[in-house]
Symmetry: C2
Subunit: 261 residues, 2 copies
């Protein structure tokens, strides 16, 4: 199963992706978590210790490899490059592992003015579509904020989009843009998750606003999640209630996907 977690900036994508990955690992799945945000922090949400984080080689730093495969220099704007680079031999050694979750990081902008991340996205897209997953394997992609990745179709090969929203018009507007763009690239399973919920009114607001997008779960507003970020630890260890809610989301997702996959 391949799941992309997406939504407006700051709604809680990385938190959900991190806790969901840990939840699948707890249930015996082999989990590959991919941080596809050029401003990456999935490692911390997964609870990776600093000494492992320091060892991560992001895809963007495999400069020679990407240049060779995409025929582009990573970071240069406005050049021609191959959109389907060869990726079948990308070795496992580029991943780091902790708590039974493997992590792959797309990587960041290393120098101001050095260009866009188009070649990295093309490389990641090819890598994602090439991976063959077994029944007990799960791929969780934590996407960048907003919608540019949908223009690039980086997550074209996933089985489902989980779009995180909060009780506010802006994140709902982003959901609607994502819905339209995701359908353009052939994604049929689009589900919403409501985050930072303080009342049943807010749940009703979200269900109402999501129209035909099924809302498969809610995460309650919890100060402990905020303190997890402040302390730099995984939210997985900070809020039993939210972890339980993520388990419910996982179950809802599985039962909905069972019929379509």
């Amino acid at each position: 199963m391949r799941i992309a977690v997406t939504g407006k900036g700051g709604v809680g994508k990385t938190t959900l992706a991190g806790v969901l990955a840990r939840t699948y690992a707890d249930d015996g799945y082999k989990v590959l978590a991919v941080d596809a945000d050029p401003d990456p922090n999935l490692a911390s949400a997964l609870g990776f210790p600093d000494e492992i984080v320091e060892k991560i080689v992001p895809l963007s730093q495999m400069r020679d490899l990407i240049a060779q495969r995409t025929e582009a220099i990573p970071g240069m704007v406005g050049q021609m490059f191959r959109l389907n680079p060869r990726v079948d031999d990308i070795p496992e050694k580029y991943c780091v592992t902790h708590n039974n979750v493997k992590l792959l990081v797309m990587g960041t902008v290393k120098e101001g003015g050095s260009g866009c991340t188009c070649p990295e996205h093309a490389f990641l897209k090819a890598l994602m579509s090439h991976l063959i997953l077994k029944a007990n394997e799960v791929l969780i992609l934590d996407m960048e904020a907003g919608i540019e990745h949908l223009g690039r179709a980086t997550a074209k090969s996933v089985d489902a989009f989980l779009v995180v929203v909060e009780p506010g018009k802006r994140s709902i507007q982003t959901l609607k843009s994502i819905k339209k763009l995701a359908r353009d690239i052939g994604i049929k399973n689009i589900f919403a998750v409501g985050n930072k919920i303080k009342s049943s009114d807010e749940k009703a607001f979200i269900i109402d606003s999501c129209d035909d997008i099924p809302v498969i779960g809610f995460l309650s507003y919890d100060e402990n999640f905020i303190y997890a970020d402040r302390l730099g630890v995984s939210p997985y260890e900070q809020s039993n209630k939210n972890v339980h809610e993520v388990k419910m989301i996982k179950e809802g997702l599985e039962s909905r996907l069972k019929s379509t996959l």
Copy 2:
């Protein structure tokens, strides 16, 4: 004066940019607000009514113009294009005006899989560096979440970066990436603004975490701001306290820039 508002997704960039623009307009400045986020919502933060929002022609829809000037087809990935398109004759008619604030919108991804927004960014960058501002004119750029715009150097020509942070490690990590990348492209004035502040402890955490970046103001956590988003109205009309805090930020910014401009 040219100011870019930037930071991690969801920290409150658009809210600050919108209220700051209104505050400058109140003081008699001519304000041009530019929404440089491919997932745009500055119009609503500025309080533009729907009937004006519907009339906005985003830069990305001036497809023929961008194609002609950048020699690229907007939305195509991996093509060559001119990085310094001609922009000196872009007419005022692409802006809409309300409450004495002019708004220009870069625009969004119109179709999934249609490509990146590199040509639009190149066009906007050229447009921004070409504008000549008088003493009573202010340009406020609301940037996309995260840091990819710094690779593209879209905001290279601004006088100051206002980086919005909240009490948490992730937005501080983004601040540090922005600081490094902004200096790469020659931005000297980088200031932090702390948002969603609930206590003096949180202020201290932010001042501490920002190291050598001056924190020029704080915005208190205010449910009314959240309800502004839910109601789809401008936060400017929802919280006197926050508006007063933005005025203090504006004054702090002016006094700090006076010596360098």
